[in-house]
């Protein structure tokens, strides 16, 4: 897509996802978030001498499930390595990670924008590997406290690191990729993806390519950290691309003659700030962890995971469009709400017999309530079969749309059942005989209007519709109009 800037942005992402296990990756300490500090530790995750790590079966399966869903190449065997560095929140002096035999490589995830701001494209996944988290360091910057405090509850929690190729060409694409990845992980039920609790963390590598008279120039790559929301990622990358352009104009520094840099996003100031890092720290001296056995991945295990995977967002969007005739926008909105909303929609659509009406009502009326109340569809007061029955009555002409909205509103606000709400609002369905009789009376009582209509002023019938609604608010205006016109023509 066209950009108003004289350069191309090149972005790769590194995403750390905390897997939904009950216990840590190599010991059986719980992973409960928010436990009092240093109450979820044992000799293994404290790095005490003689303790031995044992791989969490569930963590491995969740990682593998994700790798399969990301269409990755999965090797027949994989191993774990020690990544050596010193930091106070890393008690062993090394992190158990995966270096040269990660459990997944060469995958991809498709991204698209329903608003068409970029063309649909696959973002390649370079690798995904399973590793342990570090503990937490707390720095009390105020009060001049000299010490940092360390909480090791999080040390050893399973993380899946997912690294993309530098295929992302704009901050919007980066944000879209992250939303799509998060949605996929939620569908797979491998992570809760809660960014506030650190279950999903994002780092980005970014530089820009500038066409010049002497060929394409690439600026030094910058790794951006500390982005705490997808919105922050988008803004940090926007800022950083522009900053690199300005800096290149001033210094002429390129990827070839300047080292990679790390910068942190300051959400308040809306700038990236250079972080100091020792050159030595990138020398991790990986070697295979002798305490952990290799893991073999037989082909039938991958097949089984593929079979059990269920429908994923990309395929689901297409099915909703094909099976129910929804437009791309509507299917995107529903799928992005998660599996439970899609299931709710499908039940309403099936039972009311009009999928587009079901999609419209869910988008306009149901999702509004979910957003206002910050609840999931499970807590929505109106069950799918009740909404379906309401919409069926709208489709039959038994209930007019405006009254149906009042009924739904009442069901939501007061938790009433459909019948109750209809009765409480004094809505009685009008039988076709009643309706015909009402129209006959109106035509008879208004000979001038009938004459106008016969003379070709068909819109004059509107006055009869108005009168009908006054006499009985439950009548269907379109029906009244149709019957009145019919009666007037018959009486000619």
């Amino acid at each position: 897509m066209s950009q108003a800037v004289p350069y191309t942005i090149v972005i790769g992402l590194e995403v750390h996802v905390q897997l939904l296990t009950r216990t840590k990756l190599f010991c059986r300490c719980p992973t409960t978030f928010g436990a009092p500090p240093n109450t979820q530790t044992c000799p293994v995750c404290l790095g005490l001498p003689g303790a031995l790590p044992v791989m969490n079966r569930r963590a491995f399966e969740l990682a593998l499930r994700t790798a399969v869903a990301l269409q990755c190449r999965i090797p027949p065997r994989t191993k774990w390595d020690r990544k050596n560095y010193f930091y106070p929140d890393l008690p062993k002096g090394y992190q158990i990670s995966q270096y040269d035999l990660p459990l997944a490589t060469n995958g991809y995830l498709e991204i698209a924008d329903p608003a068409g701001r970029f063309a649909p494209k696959p973002i390649r996944i370079r690798r995904a590997h399973l590793e342990e988290d570090a503990g937490k360091s707390l720095h009390d910057e105020a009060a001049g406290v000299a010490d940092s405090r360390i909480d090791l509850n999080r040390a050893g929690t399973p993380l899946l690191e997912i690294v993309t190729e530098p295929d992302i060409r704009s901050p919007l694409e980066a944000k879209t990729f992250l939303s799509e990845l998060k949605l996929l992980l939620l569908y797979l039920e491998v992570s809760d993806c809660n960014m506030q609790e650190g279950s999903l963390r994002v780092d980005a590598n970014i530089n820009i390519h500038i066409p010049t008279a002497s060929g394409m120039v690439a600026t030094p790559i910058v790794e951006v950290k500390n982005m705490n929301s997808f919105r922050a990622v988008e803004r940090a990358l926007q800022y950083e691309a522009e900053r690199q352009y300005v800096e290149w104009q001033a210094t002429g520094l390129t990827k070839e003659n300047a080292p990679k840099q790390t910068r942190g996003w300051d959400d308040q100031a809306e700038v990236t700030v250079a972080q100091r890092r020792k050159e030595e720290s990138s020398d991790y001296r990986y070697f295979p962890d002798p305490d952990l056995a290799e893991v073999t991945i037989p082909a039938h295990q991958i097949e089984r995971l593929r079979d059990e995977m269920g429908e994923l967002p990309g395929a689901l969007r297409k099915r909703l469009e094909q099976q129910y005739g929804l437009d791309a926008y509507a299917s995107d909105v529903l799928v992005n709400q998660g599996k439970a909303v899609v299931a709710y929609f499908e039940q309403v659509a099936r039972q009311c017999g009009d999928a587009r009406r079901a999609a419209n009502w869910i988008q306009q009326d149901v999702l509004r309530v979910l957003n206002e109340r910050h609840i999931g569809i499970e807590q929505y007061p109106v069950a799918a079969d009740e909404l379906a029955e309401l919409l069926r009555q709208v489709g039959d002409g038994q209930l007019i749309t405006s009254r149906a909205r009042e009924v739904l509103e009442r069901m939501v606000q007061r938790g009433e059942k459909l019948e109750q709400a209809i009765a409480a609002l004094g809505i009685q369905s009008v039988s076709s005989n009643q309706l015909r009789e009402l129209c006959r009376q109106l035509v008879e009582a208004n000979p001038r209007i009938a004459a106008d209509v016969r003379a070709g002023k068909r819109q004059a019938v509107g006055a009869l519709v108005g009168q009908a609604k006054k006499r009985n608010p439950n009548v269907n205006p379109a029906e009244v109009q149709r019957i009145c016109l019919e009666l007037i023509e018959q009486s000619e």
Binding site: T21, R22, T23, C27, R28, C29, P30, P36, P37, N38, T39, Q40, T41, C42, P43, L46, V54, M55, N56, R57, R58, A59, F60, R77, K79, N84, F86, Y87, P88, L101, S137, L138, H139, V145, A146, D147, S148, R149, I150, D151, L152, E280, D283, R285, P288, P290, L292, A293, E294, V295, T296
Partner: protein, 96 residues
């Protein structure tokens, strides 16, 4: 392929290991390390043409534990060996 163990390399390794070494010790360690590596390099004399590469000395794979919580240490126990603590946290010289 033998690596030349010079004082600069020893200094780099010491830095990574957070060891503070004086110049005299660095000289001695350089020759010690060179000797040790030369000794280990004798393994290169073995013909490994027909041996499968391996990441682990044991013929053992797929060791797993179930995802079921077990006991943790009491906090006082966990903090017991720390040189500095405040009853809740490990305390370390300020980082960052």
């Amino acid at each position: 392929m033998p690596v030349e163990i010079n004082p600069a390399l020893v200094r780099h390794i010491a830095e990574l290991a957070r060891l503070e070494l004086d110049d005299q010790l660095i000289q001695r360690l350089a020759s010690d390390l060179a000797e040790i590596l030369a000794y280990v390099e004798r393994l290169d004399e073995l013909d490994t043409e027909s041996v499968q590469p391996m990441a682990h000395a044991l013929d053992l794979t797929d060791v797993f534990a179930d995802d079921v919580p077990g006991p943790c240490l009491e906090r006082q126990e966990a903090l017991a060996n720390a040189p500095k603590k405040d009853g809740e946290f490990f305390l370390v010289p300020a980082v960052l």
